[in-house]
Symmetry: C2
Subunit: 273 residues, 2 copies
């Protein structure tokens, strides 16, 4: 499949999507992004992702160089150009071509890309490695992933798939997904330090119809004592966390309530695709 990228007003072949080195995303990490899926050409939860992208832009003082309708149309065109069963769509926006290499330009740089991807199988759990860290500005989906990328070698070495962030005795999130624990059929997800994921929001809505759900601070002790743990994200939907460091959860299998939520989520997602 030939790939295309939208870059500053034009859709061009992916191999030509070059940006000048004075871009403030490149020079100073100053930028935001968002990511979502399209299934058989239909974007999933697109309005939620546009909401969050706009919110990130506002909190960063950046102006999106397209109206919401224009941006949605760009996205739909990128999806049309990549006829895939599963397509990941990524929007990236930076502080533009900075005159002094520090101050954001009047005009932001906007990129929209599409790439095929595969879901992790829902019947297999993930292993996390705990890392003492809290994202700098958790409420913004910024470009800064230095800490988890730096940890990649250690993650691999320890046999884990990703990180679990904790700081000052509180659990916040994983590198690109939210964390939920289940204890005595009650579902708890952290608030402080977490980016509120779109999948998280939909899972919360579904879970509240069937279980007691608490959005609040989650202590590391509660995490270790959990009956089941799972993580949510656009590339994952709901995936069980079957191990973190040396602690095994739900006997290393997808827990009963996690499985129920996975089924409910798949049903719910059909309404959007």
């Amino acid at each position: 499949m030939k790939e295309y990228i939208f870059l500053n007003g034009q859709i061009i072949p992916a191999e030509n999507a070059n940006i000048h080195v004075s871009d403030l995303g490149l020079l100073r990490g100053y930028g935001i992004f968002d990511f979502f899926r399209a299934i058989d050409g239909k974007p999933i939860f697109i309005e939620d992702h546009l909401d969050r992208f706009e919110n990130s832009a506002n909190l960063m003082g950046l102006k999106i160089p397209a109206s919401r309708d224009e941006l949605r149309n760009i996205i739909l065109e990128i999806i049309r150009l990549h006829p895939q069963h599963l397509l990941g769509v990524k929007m990236v926006m930076t502080g533009g071509y900075s005159a002094d290499g520090y101050t954001p330009a009047e005009q932001s740089n906007l990129i929209v890309m599409g790439k095929p991807f595969e879901f992790k199988p829902a019947d297999v759990g993930m292993k996390l490695m705990s890392v003492e860290y809290r994202r700098e500005i958790p409420e913004i989906k910024t470009l800064n992933y230095i800490t988890p990328i730096r940890a990649l070698a250690k993650i691999k070495e320890s046999g884990a798939d990703d990180v679990l962030y904790h700081q000052n005795g509180l659990i916040s999130e994983s590198s690109r997904s939210n964390i939920f624990v289940i204890k005595n059929e009650k579902i708890i997800t952290p608030v402080d330090g977490a980016l509120f994921g779109v999948t998280r929001k939909h899972v919360l809505n579904i879970a509240k119809r069937h279980f007691v759900v608490e959005e609040r601070d989650l202590s590391t002790q509660e995490y270790w004592d959990a009956d089941e743990v799972f993580t949510t994200g656009s590339t994952k939907r709901i995936i069980a966390i079957t191990q973190t460091d040396n602690k095994v959860f739900s006997e290393g299998k997808v827990g009963k309530i996690t499985k129920k939520l996975q089924d409910l989520f798949l049903e719910h997602e059909k309404n959007f695709s």
Copy 2:
């Protein structure tokens, strides 16, 4: 003056220095940089900056795609191509063109740029605005400047020139320069949370010949109680901090000891140019 940029093995006209959007510096802020000056064609403290760049690369798990001699030669060629009284030279290196937008590539992307710049006048002080923050990985000169760039509007609004970082009652640094305070003719500079600047190192060496110098934790209270405050950096040499928030230092002027260090530093720098 026509500008040139070294990009991945070639020196090309600056306007053609484009990088593909799959670069991991752009997509995930995964990269490092260093910056130094050339005066009348002579790089100042270049070996210190090459040391630090190599150290940043090691700590990020990135391989510089050039030997030290090759990199030095690239820098000297960039300086030769930009005949300026004062030239700022910047090296940037990122995690390369990432296949999955997350994992660093085998080959890093390396950029070397030269741009004319001007020093701040040494007889005028700067004003800082205090910000509760500590850089994520202070020992590495990473690309992440989201917090200070996001604060630019507030800095301007408050009439300040830059930020002063503090957290948990300790002073660490400014956005791109180190902090020194003087109390009863004793000079103190923070260790925890600070990137050890090259100018800082040279100022320490000079100061130790004339004053009692302490490198240690510096409390916010000591900062507010200081007789004089100054900051050091490659684009600043030594600049007095005459105000922070509402607190005025050394009657709003360059303090006596700061002035003496400025003179000593200029003398010292001549040995390198």
